[in-house]
Amino acid sequence: MTATVTSALPNSLTAGKLPRGTAWIVLASSWLLIGIVFWLVNLADGSNEFNLVGTVFFGTVLFDIAIYVLSWLVEGSRRAKDRLVTALIATTFVVAVLPLVSLIDTVVINGLPGILKPSFFTESMRNVLGPGGGALHAVIGTLEITMAATIISVPIGLLTSIYLVEYGTGALARTITFMVDVMTGIPSIVAGLFAYALFVLVTGDPGYRSGFGGSVALSVIMIPVVVRSSEEILKLVPNELREASFALGVPKWLTILKVVLPTAIAGITTGVTLAIARVIGETAPLLLITGFTSSVNYNLFGDQMMTLPMFIYTQYANQGPAAADFLNRAWASALTLILIVMVLNLIARLVAKYFSPKSGR
């Protein structure tokens, strides 16, 4: 052990120092100690399910206290406070990751048996009241609605970002930038209400429901995301490329189409993929405007359509006589949805990594 000379020398620069790695040892022993306590409690209770989350959480809290006291005794108050804050900040990270771990753990355990059944992707819920059935109608609806939303959003979003980067100056461009930022924060349910109000006014039918209405609602959420990401990417295209093109006498619109966009295409693809991942899990607008059904509906422009998020919600909210079957299907589609979103995120990152132009910097 290092000598404690704090009492003789109050100067914190020359005070004692805990040996390297002390923090890790204290952390491991705190976890171990709390783990043993939980284990003993389990023995007393007779339950055999070990509380891992509790162990990690309370063990980390014990570590925070222990390292502060230890450091205060050996290193003085300033360093003790530094160590305490370091420990607390590491704790916040653990606290933030615990829900993610718990969520993924739960969804995989509850959902995996469901999606491994071959019928899950080949059958709809038509005339199914108990076990069996599948999410075919929901997958079809999700694909069609998201595709239509993408077809609406990408041209508008991309052209807007081109306007903001290449043409826009003055008050109008500033207003659009500000409004795009504000639009990013529109609650998704308000987008759904907007689509509902729009289609009811156009068709005059107060009970209007269709997949296309859902696409319009999703576009309201998706457009600002596409604009923001494309704008950032277009700004990264070096000005020298544009100037070289102008110097050769190429008109501005051809410069944008043939020089700027090809340079930025990887980044734009990444942005669009992330935007799709953002809206594919939206439920609230679809609840209002797309409705739900248990049969397959290929027609985007008429009648109610099922989507994966709505499938999860209805399986949970309208449980039939055999509740377990409905919950199993809800977890299975939750796993499907998370997998789709994560694959989309992965594709986006891979495109960004491998297809972006090699810059000189």
Binding site: T92, S102, L103, G185, L287, Y313
Partner: protein, 313 residues
Amino acid sequence: MSTDKIGIIRTKVRAGDRVFSTSTLLAGSVILVVLAAVAIFLFVQSMPALVAPPGTLPHGAPSFWSYVFPFVFGTVWAAAIALLFAIPISIGVALFISHYAPRRIAQLLGYIVDLLAAVPSVVFGLWGIGVLAPTLQPLYKWLNLNLGWIPFFGGQVSGTGRTILTVGIVLAVMVLPIMTAVCREIFLQTPRLYEEAALALGATRWEMIRIAVLPFARPGIISAAMLGLGRALGETLAVAMVLSPAAVVTFFLLTSRNPNTIAGNIALQFPEASGIGVNTLIASGLVLFVITFIVNAIARFAVNRRKEFSGAN
């Protein structure tokens, strides 16, 4: 591009240029039109509810404003609880990634937190009701029994854990990624020289963060909190699934009669609503739109004002 000054060659305006620039301008204007249309259509559809005579509204509310007040309260209350948890944790996580974690794994840790943003809200709802609520219920019982004298923990404790406190925690988890991302960006923008100067004067790492990083990042932290607030106010499905609602105004955190949020109420009532009920729900949606619009506008204004310094969004 072209100017009218003598001696400067004026470029010929080509048809392609004109068509292309006009179409980009149109696309940009579509965004303004859509935003205006959202406000106008919602307003037109909510008019019948706003002028409705007493007795025709749902729950026998005397006027629209007395109908919507408990939901406005619930929306703000749930979002406030969420921010209470999310602000310290997001600052901590952002500091951990920007100043504490080793450079090499910092980016990986950032991805892990971003993964939370990839989880759809309906899955959070399923997790909240299936895992979080049962886990927290014994804790609620203990809090109610031992700390019931604190007003927030009083009342009849919920047997299912589907309380507004659980909703606040789920919302906190959901707004964590965006708040962490904004805070992280701003912490990384702190001038390197400030940090090194503090360290050279003998400051510990925490003292360096307190005197150099946090003062620099304060406006950014505030706007991150506002952005998180905007998200928490509008979150729908997690609230609709987890909360056990009632049309009450109460500060009790642990009971089974909780104030519902505007968004949660719309999601629960809309599929069965008809006639003036639909108009009332749309009008409450308009109220939500106005609240979130103001919150987001303030947040964006604060971020933009410091754009030269911060790289946030």
